[in-house]
Symmetry: C2
Subunit: 183 residues, 2 copies
């Protein structure tokens, strides 16, 4: 695939925020032409499909400022520096839902928008849930919502769930459990 490769001529950093770094690099295309490539450096994130013994998933509602609406999502959070994604997933599940899980399984990892961001997202299935003592971050306003997996899938069809990681996590879990048979 070397014939498709774009090579960096000059690295540019135009903004460094608390979370995001904005790169603006000059690159050489396969035909030798020079272009700029603007993209977001992101620390990466972990997300969790928490599944109860009754086949329900624990979702969270929270305000998503960039899209100006409350989103219904699977629990998730950004990786701390050099953090193992599974450790991040365990921490975020407890902070956002008040549950811990005894059984963890990596489902898949993906890039949310590889055209302009390097954000990689790691999705885990969490089962055998128990109540934990963890508290949410002080500045995090998150409300849990427990629904059967089949109902969560229906919320994708109706447009109530419009978040990429949640759609992927729920569809992937549905394929694992063939939830359609239960609908």
């Amino acid at each position: 695939m070397e014939h498709l490769k774009e090579k960096m001529l000059e690295k540019g950093i135009v903004f460094e925020g608390n979370i995001l770094t904005i790169r603006y690099d000059r690159v050489t295309l396969p035909d030798g032409a020079v272009r700029t490539r603007e993209f977001v450096e992101h620390p990466g994130a972990a997300a969790i499909v928490p599944l109860t013994a009754q086949g329900e998933v624990i979702l969270v509602r929270q305000w998503r400022y960039p899209i100006g609406q409350v989103a219904i999502e699977i629990p998730a959070g950004k990786l701390d520096l050099d953090e193992d994604p599974l450790e991040c997933a365990k921490r975020e599940l407890e902070e956002e839902t008040g549950f811990a899980a005894r059984r963890w399984q990596h489902m898949l990892s993906f890039y949310t928008s590889p055209g302009f961001s390097d954000e990689e997202l790691h999705v885990y299935l969490a089962q055998d849930l128990k109540v934990s003592n963890a508290r949410p971050d002080d500045d995090e306003f998150v409300e849990p919502l427990v629904v059967p997996l089949a109902a969560a899938l229906e919320m994708i069809a109706t447009g109530e769930i419009v978040d990429a990681k949640s759609i992927i996590g729920l569809y992937h879990a549905a394929r694992m459990f063939q939830a359609d048979k239960e609908r």
Copy 2:
């Protein structure tokens, strides 16, 4: 859901590139605390699951500079200013694959990463394909790849397809066509 709402105190723009605008706003949280919210303004995009009469999907390979690798994806592209997503989808299908479609169907729309970006992605199913005369953009290096839908789903399982819009488009199509029965 008003009790979860974050309100803008001050709008900040820290970078305006060719594609991305970086916002750095001061906002008020539900408890009155003040925080910053950094996020990416993106024009939005359209993506296509092009399905042949034989049940194959047309994928594309291209270099994704932010993640430093060739990605295998469904065809897609950014919206031009005020462009209708369906028109964008028709244009991108022709430019990236050399095929046009006689039958179009909106499958779903979603946000790629609502924590730090407002990018909305509209996914269409394209059927009844025919060869078109369109050419790729001069600076776009894209190679098509035609595989059965079941094989594309397997490429998600093996980690060969790691792009959110492609995973969502293919999983959604699989649910529509219950492709598993054919595996």
